[in-house]
């Protein structure tokens, strides 16, 4: 019987076959483990600071803590996007409940609202995201699911009408009910908001919304520095992180300071009416009082605060 064959490894010197395989296996295992853990390590070291990891739920933040959070987010916008932004926490106004109405007799389907939303809300430029989807519908039908959002011809076509759909700010929002971590809720002025720092990205809300109004940030949003809208709200148009859900907030950073939403200002035909439902003299109250308005998918009982009507 010959002596066991000796193998040579540069580091270990003269070792037997078994030891050599053990060492090689351990090395490969360690390398594979490091490779597998690399995304986590990278994420923890670059993407998430300790203060962000330990941040409390929005509703539990003291004002000074929230100020610190917003200041940190402003720094991040400067570091990652090269943009000087101001992030503020805009609160609902007392005696104000927002309502929105859209005149389908007037809308021509030009999609200027969707474009304005894209710019105002710092949406990802690559995916061309917007909170508004304009559906081209056959006259005589109100079937939301048969609408075509990808039309590409002069508008309006004579046999079509155009229905922009965005978040309906439901009184009974199914998206809020399904959130497992309470990262989304309805505020006193009717706006359904998301704390992007609390959202875990499970997309239950996106599945629950009957209006396809929620969007998911599949990638880190890309916005050129000069195109970043610097007027930002913590719960609205600040640049969202990757992996969280976002939605229309009726431009709360504008509307809670008395301004009109960006999609309304962009509408060239004046099809959109926005205002305070609690004010009997407001434009939106006039529409609800005098027009035959309807809401989308009324049978679901979501009670939208977004209304559609035709000229009468």
């Amino acid at each position: 019987m010959s002596a066991p064959k000796k193998m040579s490894l540069p580091v270990l010197g003269e070792v037997d076959r078994r030891t050599a395989f053990k060492a090689a296996g351990a090395t490969l295992g360690a390398a594979a483990f490091a490779k597998a853990m690399a995304p986590v390590v990278e994420w923890a070291s670059h993407e998430t600071s300790a203060s962000e990891f330990l941040q409390k739920h929005f509703k539990e933040l003291r004002p000074d803590e929230l100020a610190t959070v917003m200041s940190r987010l402003e720094d991040e916008a400067r570091d990652e996007y090269g943009a000087d932004v101001t992030i503020a926490d805009y609160r609902p106004q007392k005696g104000v409940k927002f309502g929105y109405a859209l005149n389908l007799s007037i809308c021509i389907g030009c999609r200027k609202c969707a474009e304005a939303c894209h710019k105002e809300n710092n949406h990802d430029r690559v995916s061309g995201n917007s909170y508004i989807r304009v559906l081209e519908m056959d006259k005589g039908s109100l079937d939301l699911e048969s609408g075509n959002a990808a039309y590409d011809h002069p508008v309006p076509q004579p046999d079509k009408f155009y229905m922009p759909v965005q978040c309906q700010q439901c009184e009974r929002p199914p998206c809020v009910n399904v959130c497992p971590v309470e990262a989304t809720w309805k505020e006193d002025d009717g706006v359904v908001v998301v704390d992007y720092n609390w959202c875990i990205g499970c997309r239950y809300c996106e599945a629950a919304c009957p209006y396809h109004a929620r969007r998911f940030n599949w990638t880190k949003p890309e916005v050129p520095a000069q195109e970043v809208n610097p007027n930002q709200g913590y719960l609205s148009n600040r640049i969202r992180p990757q992996g969280v859900v976002e939605k229309c907030t009726y431009c709360l950073h504008r509307t809670r300071t008395g301004r009109l939403p960006a999609c309304l200002e962009a509408c060239p035909t004046g099809a959109r009416v926005f205002g305070n439902l609690l004010d009997p003299n407001s434009e939106i109250s006039y529409v609800l009082r005098t027009k035959r308005v309807y809401v989308l998918k009324e049978e679901l009982g979501t009670r939208p605060q977004f209304f559609y009507f035709f000229d009468t």
Binding site: G128, S130, R259, P268, E283
Partner: protein, 218 residues
């Protein structure tokens, strides 16, 4: 709020700029003293008194038009001839409906506005003015009243803030608002809103970049 009454016009309007780009009419608050109902009453103040409310500015009214003479002034602006330059010495033809029916001038002007004749709106007694159906002559800047006499439902909604584009503030206690005049969107001679190409085609998320459906994404 602006209140304009039948018979006695009390537009509190200030004309700023006089070029064809459009006249800005600043609508200021006017107190109501008439016994008749106002026919122009811009809502949207939320029950605020005039002092508490920021102004609503209406843009897009056209000034009295002029015909290019072919000359240019020192600033390079075209020199326009007033309507009255020619029309003071000509008798109005009450059945003319279209520029193509005329021998001189206005040939390029085609009309697509119901069965209206030129003098349905233009004042044949004073071509620097428009004329209501009542016979009352009004300034071009007041043309909203002229449109309103036929387009009642649109005007009613306009009064109540539910027709016509706007920018600025929904809450007039906080800030002002700018509203479009009828003529900001509608050509008086062919008022139907024209077809446009839509902007901002939607894209679908795609692992290898986003493409529009028009580019072949299925």
């Amino acid at each position: 709020m602006v209140r304009t009454r039948r018979g006695a016009v009390s537009w509190s309007a200030m004309l700023v700029g006089a070029l064809a780009a459009g006249v800005t009419v600043v609508v200021a608050a006017v107190s109501s003293t008439s016994d008749t109902d106002p026919i122009v009453d811009f809502a949207g103040g939320g029950g605020l008194t005039a002092a508490e409310q920021h102004p609503i500015t209406i843009v897009g009214a056209t000034p009295a038009p002029g015909i290019p003479t072919g000359d240019f002034d020192r600033q390079g602006n075209p020199v326009l001839a007033n309507c009255t330059t020619c029309h003071a010495t000509r008798t109005a033809n009450s059945v003319t409906r279209d520029g193509t029916q005329l021998n001189d001038f206005h040939q390029g002007l085609t009309t697509a506005h119901g069965e209206l004749a030129c003098v349905s709106c233009h004042n044949p007694d004073d071509y620097s003015q428009l004329r209501l159906a009542s016979g009352e002559g009004i300034e071009f800047a007041d043309s909203l009243r002229l449109c309103a006499q036929c387009h009642g439902p649109q005007f009613r909604d306009y009064e109540n803030g539910a027709h016509g584009g706007m920018t600025g503030h929904w809450d007039l206690a906080v800030g002002p608002r700018v509203r479009n005049h009828c003529l900001a969107c509608h050509d008086a001679h062919a008022p139907k809103y024209q077809q446009v190409m839509p902007v901002f085609a939607p894209r679908e998320f795609h692992a290898h970049g986003s493409r529009t459906r028009a580019e072949g994404y299925e």
